[in-house]
Structures are given as structure tokens and as C-alpha cells.
Amino acid sequence: MKRYNLIVVGAGPAGLCAGIEAAKRGMSVIVFDENEKPGGQLFKQIHKFFGSKEHKAKIRGFKIGEQLLKEAAATGVEVRLNATVTGLYPDKEIMVKHGDGMYHYKGDSIIIATGAAENMVPFENWTLPGVIGAGAAQTLMNLHGIKPGNRILMLGSGNVGLVVSFQLLQAGCEVAALVDAAPRIGGYGVHAAKVARTGVPFYLSHTIIKAEGTDHVTGVIIGEVDDHFKPIPGTEKQFDVDTICIAVGLSPMSQLLKMSGCTMEDNPRRGGEVPVVDEYGETSIPQLFAAGDVSGIEEASSAMIKGKMAGIRAAYELGFCKETETENSLEKCTADLDSLRQGMFAPGNKGKLIEKTEEGIPVSMNLLTKGFVADGEIIHFPGVTSQKGIHPVIECTQNIPCNPCQDACVKHCIKIGSHITSLPVVENPAPCTGCGLCVASCSGQAIFLVNENYEPGFASITMPYEFLPLPEKGDKGKGLGRDGKTVCDAEIIDVKSLPAFDHTNLVTMKVPAEFVMKARFFKAV
């Protein structure tokens, strides 16, 4: 039997952060993970994260994963891979399956950070090859470089469904439609908008009726649902697709905690069966903690903070950290976590229809039901102004905890203020130089640089562009509206790809002046 001050189960964002904080304070730490590679889901997350600097905002998930692994190595955290923890027993003892052997470990404290598993919805033929989880799609394309399919229908409009749909487009797949039984889009509006403007149709209040095909998926039939989520006969729509991707939420993988005998509860707000924990993640069994999605479904940014808190608290309880230092560190974590849990998507607002922003502006109902803000709605938002010369147009219309755009602008054109969920405001007149750093900094890809007076009769629009092939200067094509439909002719006049933009290319197109507030995407013809 081997003994450690701290055993962590799960080398994802929560587990690694917990291990790092404990090891920094002098604890001997081992982290087990059943996978071949550490990092949990972080290495599949290729989008820029939301939040503020403290939350590693505007850094892509896989880069955060690389940072955490470096930090874990530097602080002396042992990470044991291909190691499945099969049992958690009294007195903090565990059994680990590694290769063909079983090994016995004991910890002075244990942090369970096993994450979550995907939920599924059954429908006729749902077991056909070609029906996959959204996580499987992410794994195939972002870890292994394999297209999950050529033409895909996505079920689920939460952030996972929206983000994975965008990633499918980035991988060169076609997304035939995005479907959700709920009447409103569940994830961030900015994530929906960047999918919608490429031309992907959204079908809210719709569900999958059946998958077509005999030995693999060749098509899918969806239908509209009534208020009780029952399909309405006669509303069926058919799509030829080879893949159906399911993104209908996550459930905590809390089996080890249940086995330990700590107090559990069935809490739908936290995603299912979860341990009862205090503010630091400690369960009813002293020195047994839970951190990250296993103690309630959130996302990677909050999982990292919850991991830190459990690690710090575990160190304190075993005498590795003085009381004042502990209090200060935990207070900082609590503040960071609180700021992430603000705004329209705060845990307390789940399922609620919010009709007005914190600023009192009516929320775009088009955004919630179709995935894009209508032309008539967009002008109400403080980031959208009409000015002479080049200036940013920020189509950020929901209160979400995110502020990198404010820091990105050296000229201070953009103001969010101290309240992280406030909508960004563009100064009028803006002292904008057109550097484009704000465009690349926006994790939601909601910032455009607009020059209404580019040349007589024409305006220029600079947009974030993360697809291949990258358009080239002189390319002629069509400007697409927020709804992904053609609105005008467009010509590419500039393409910028700087290291500072971190793979968000800035593509500038010239359009007839009257379309300056309508065209938001470019399609080559």
C-alpha cells in the first residue's frame, strides 16, 4: 500500500487545479485518471474561454490544459494515467486498476473530480451507427483529426450543442440543422449567432422522431413538439444526414462518492445525484472532497476554481496551510467563482425566461428562438453605434460574465466597468485605430470593425474568421446576414492573421454602404 497526503481522482480541470494547490503547499499528491492522456475535456475545447483574466478568459481550452499540466509537473504533482479507481473505501483507501494489476493506495485526504457523463435521448433507431454523443464528435475531430461525419444534425442548443456545431463547421463538416425540444436556445446567444450566420438553421420546439437507415444513419426525421414535448403529427421534416449528434446535457459521475457512504442528494439543479458538500466541496465525510462537474454540472472555468478551493481546504485541514493564508486564498476563489455565476445564465436563472438585460434593454427574442438578433433589434444595444470612420460594433446582447474586450482596447473605446456581466459600451466618438485586437479577443466572436465611409457608396466590415479555406484579398462573394442568408455582394479587401489574434483571423470585406449593419459573414462564390 502506498500513502499520499492527497489522492485526486480525475486529471481534468478540477482535479489538476486541486492537486496543484495542495502540492504548492507541500502536500504529496497523486492524481489518477483512467484515460491515456490527462486534461479531461480541456484538450477538446478549442474555443476561447469566457470570463476575465482571473478565469483565463480568451485562452483556448486546450492551451489552458497545457498550462495546467506544466504547473502540475512544476509543483511535483504525480499524474498516473490509464489508472482506473475502482473503489473508495473507509479511511480514505482506494483500489486502482492499472494494466492487468490492482493496486492499493491510502490518502490523508481525497478529492473526487471525476467529471460528468453525457445524457442521451432515445428515439427510433437511436442505436444505429452514426448516432453519437457531442463529446464523441469533439473527441474524434479535435483530438484525433477525424471528421465525425460529412453532414450532421445536432440535437441540443445548450453551450455544448452550439460550441460543437461550430467546431464541426471548423472541421469541414456540414451542419444540416440544430434542433432542440425546448422553446428557447439554452446556451449563450453569441455561440448561437456565430453558427446561425454561417447559414445553419435552428429548429426550436422540435425533436428527433427517428433516425433513418438500416445499418448506419442515412437520414433523420424531426418534428415540432407541443407544450408537453409530444410531437405534433404533420410537422415532420426530413434531412439527409450521415451523423446525428446528441448534446442534451450532462450527469455527474458520482459513483465513487456514493460508494464511500457520504451523504448524497438527487438535485436536478446540479444535474442529478451529487454529494452534499460545503462551500469548499467537502462531503459529509471529513477530508473527502468533490470538485468540478461531479458535484454539480457547470463548466471548466468554475471547475478549476472549485478544484483550487478543495485543494487549499484539504491543505489547511492537514496543517499544510496557515489559517490567514487559507482564508485569503479561499476568499479570492469565492470572489472569482461568484463573478462567473452572475448574469442571465447564472445557476439560479436556469430555465427562466429573462425579458430584459440588466441595462433594461429588451432581450432579442429572435436570438432565443432562431439563433440570431434581428436587424431591428441590434441597434438597441450599447455596443452597436453608428459613427464616422472605423469603429467596433459589439453584438453582445446578453449579460454574461466576460470582459476581455475591455482590456483588449488600448484606446479605451470599449467599457464594461467593474460589473463583469454588463454589456460592453462603445464610446461615441470612438478613438478607434482599427487594430482589431478587440475582434480577436471576443470569445463569442461578436465584435466587428465597421467603417461606414470606406469609400463613396461602400462600407467595410471586419469579422472574426476561424474557418478554412481562409478568403484572400480580391475574393468576390456574398455578404451573409446574421441569419446566414445572402444580403449583398461582397469583396475581400484585407485578411490579417497575427500571432496576437491566436488563430482568429480578421477578414475585411467591402459591401454596399446600405448593408453595413446587415452583412456579418462572407461566403465565397
Partner: protein, 108 residues
Amino acid sequence: MQNRIAEHPILGTPQKGRLVSFSFDGKNMEGYEGEPIAAALKAGGIMIHRYTAKQHKPRGIFCAIGRCTDCVMIVDGKPNIRTCVTPLKEGMEVRTQYGCSAKKDDTL
């Protein structure tokens, strides 16, 4: 190899191991050493990994992270190998699994 991403806008060119050959139901196929067997099969357009024991229904990749066991196949004679988390090696013999067997007849 029609399903491989040649160049990705964020991730660049996928970093892969050595190109190796393996067999699927006796047919020669190629994949990259170290990638999951399931990835190599998917790249080659193979969708069906096994047929269920009772109803003989086809199954393929579902979770791709080793949890659901839908993608299990017979690898080098061993049944129930989760192909989505088992790294590909040169010369591997991969077979469609029928129930728990490599032979179609056993399940009928």
C-alpha cells in the same frame, strides 16, 4: 482516408504517429500508430463495429471515450476490446464482433 482533417483552422495539421497497416475482417487497412483503433476505422469509412447478441443490431462509435462499450470488437483474438480507447499497433487483427464472438454463426 476520406474522413481525415488535413488542415484545421485552429489546430493546424494533426500530429500523428507512423502510418501502419492492420487488418479489418481480413482486409488490409492503414492507420496511424497510437491513434484509437476506432479512429483508424472511421477514417477508412467503417461504421459497424459489432452486432448485438440477441437482436443482431449493428453498433458503432457512440461515446468515443471508453464509457459506453458500444464500439467493442475482437482485437488480436480478444473480444470486448473498446476500440475508441485502444491504441492502434502495426499488424493488429481487428474483427467485427457478433455477440461475444468473432463468428457470425454463433449468435444465430
